[in-house]
């Protein structure tokens, strides 16, 4: 049961997380010795079909996505996924410097999980392609139950290779490389409470800017120029607890910092409960805020080596509530448990140092995120 509890988290795309330190090292030293010899459980077999929609700030992105997971021989589980983003882009960046456009991004992914004693080894790869950008990645994650299943420790590594192109310039091709290192621990605190701590470092190298975006110097547009290296770190703490009547509350906090001097905070709180045997409802609120990068300015006063007016690197906050409902339809063909999900989130983005040059006012916009999904577990 312990392994089922914690392994279920991994099955949901969640990598149990953790922290270092001497106390933890001591704790793990003991629990490794105490770990029982039960076999680890693979993620549940499932098939999902999702329709997703994002609409806000002049951008509409929608499309289907599918995922299929199937286990083999009790020790191996294979995953395949396909994700499509059909984007209509008339964002403020686009309409003030170019013409609105439509394009499609397609991403294919595969995964293999191998259960060995109390551990799970996961290999995964993705290939993403759009007309002017391709991205490939491979990753390996190792998850181990220890301390009689009360603690799950995980380590992970991802290597990514991107190629940046440019519309109308077939000869333009620039590489961007990414390295991600993950460490995590999920801990059962009591029969009703769980917590997890995740740490991740990401190093980027290469062409990290946009070939289209411009910066402003005394109001004049000049090509943006970002540094070619960046290292960021993120630490996230999550807690979830059963408060009775098959109801739970959860909270998370993430702190992010990087070598571009960006500091960001993410806070989210949520509430989940069953209504009868078939309905499950979630409500949550997410808040995010960040400071601008060293080389970001709405309008530079002097020309500098590195200059960006990418509002993603500016000072802003976004926040909004979300809801999600799940309905268990029932069992079909004596084998497939069908579930239908619908989710909606409203978001408000407000920038502190990015001017809408059409109005002269600070820029802000609202957005909606919609998801409809049908799932079968078997």
């Amino acid at each position: 049961m312990a392994q089922r509890c914690l392994r279920a988290l991994a099955a949901g795309g969640d990598r149990p997380a953790c922290a270092g330190g001497a106390r933890l090292a001591g704790l793990l030293g003991g629990v490794l010795a105490a770990a029982n010899a039960k076999g680890a459980e693979l993620p549940e077999d499932r098939a999902d079909a999702l329709f997703h929609l994002y609409d806000g700030g002049g951008v509409t992105a929608l499309g289907p996505a599918v995922l299929i997971r199937k286990s083999l021989f009790d020790q191996v589980s294979l995953t395949g996924s396909y994700f499509v983003d059909m984007v209509s882009n008339a964002s403020i960046d686009v309409v003030t410097t170019a013409s609105p456009y439509h394009e499609t991004r397609k991403e294919a992914g595969f995964g293999l999980d191998y259960a060995y004693h109390d551990g799970l080894i996961s290999l995964a790869g993705t290939h993403s392609k759009e007309p002017d950008y391709t991205a490939d990645s491979v990753s390996v994650d190792v998850t181990q139950d220890v301390f009689s299943g009360m603690t799950t420790v995980s380590l992970g590594y991802t290597r990514g290779w991107d190629t940046v192109g440019k519309h109308g310039s077939p000869r333009f091709s620039a590489p961007a490389n990414h390295w991600q290192y993950r460490l995590g621990v999920t801990q059962i605190l009591t029969p009703r409470w769980l917590m997890s701590l995740n740490l991740e470092s990401v190093s980027d190298d290469g062409y990290l800017q946009s070939p289209y975006r411009v910066a402003r110097v005394f109001g004049a547009a000049v090509p943006e120029h970002d540094p070619s290296t960046r290292t960021g770190h993120a630490a996230m703490l999550r807690v979830i607890g059963d408060i009775g009547s098959r109801t739970s509350v959860r909270a998370l906090y993430r702190y992010f910092w990087d070598t571009w001097d960006i500091r960001a905070h993410t806070v989210e709180a949520g509430y989940s409960r069953h209504f009868g045997d078939r309905w499950l409802a979630d409500a949550y609120f997410r808040y995010y805020t960040q400071d601008h990068a060293l080389f970001y300015s709405d309008n530079f006063k002097i020309e500098e080596t590195y200059m960006s007016r990418n509002r993603q690197l500016g000072t802003f906050w976004d926040a909004g509530p979300g809801v999600k409902t799940s309905y268990s339809v029932g069992r079909f063909a004596s084998r497939f448990d069908i579930k239908v999900d619908a989710g909606y989130q409203w978001l408000r983005f407000k920038y502190s140092d990015f001017t809408d040059i059409r109005t002269g006012k600070l820029y802000s916009f609202n957005a909606s995120v919609l998801e409809l999904q049908v799932s079968a577990t078997y």
């Binding site: 089922r4 509890c5 988290l9 099955a11 949901g12 969640d14 990598r15 001497a22 106390r23 704790l27 003991g30 629990v31 105490a34 999902d48 999702l50 994002y54 992105a61 996505a65 996924s81 994700f83 995964a124 993705t126 290939h127 759009e130 990645s137 990753s139 299943g149 991107d162 990414h178 993950r182 995590g184 059962i188 029969p191 997890s196 995740n198 470092s201 990401v202 946009s210 960021g232 770190h233 999550r238 059963d242 739970s248 959860r250 993430r254 992010f256 571009w260 993410t266 989940s272 995010y288 960040q290 993603q312 690197l313 976004d318 799940s326 999900d341 989710g343 995120v369 999904q373 799932s375």
Partner: protein
């Protein structure tokens, strides 16, 4: 004196570590039934997680430590 204090602190740290090794699991397997309920999962749907991660990744500077993997894109 300083060396003695350092040694004392080191011994206390070592004692703490050894004490850590003696901690026993305090939530027994038969007490973990509530933790297996779907409402006790941090996340439940991998595709939904991936989409949500993507929505924020392309609009916010912060990323990582969420446990969701995905390919890069140039879709800002």
């Amino acid at each position: 004196m300083n060396a003695g204090r350092t040694i004392a602190i080191g011994l206390m740290a070592a004692a703490t570590l050894i004490a850590g090794c003696s901690i026993q699991p305090w939530v027994k397997p038969y007490e973990r039934e509530r933790l297996a309920d779907p409402v006790m999962k941090f996340t439940r749907d991998p595709l939904s997680d991936k989409h949500r991660e993507h929505v924020f990744d392309v609009r916010e500077a912060a990323h990582g430590a969420t446990g969701v993997q995905g390919g890069g894109c140039g879709c800002n």
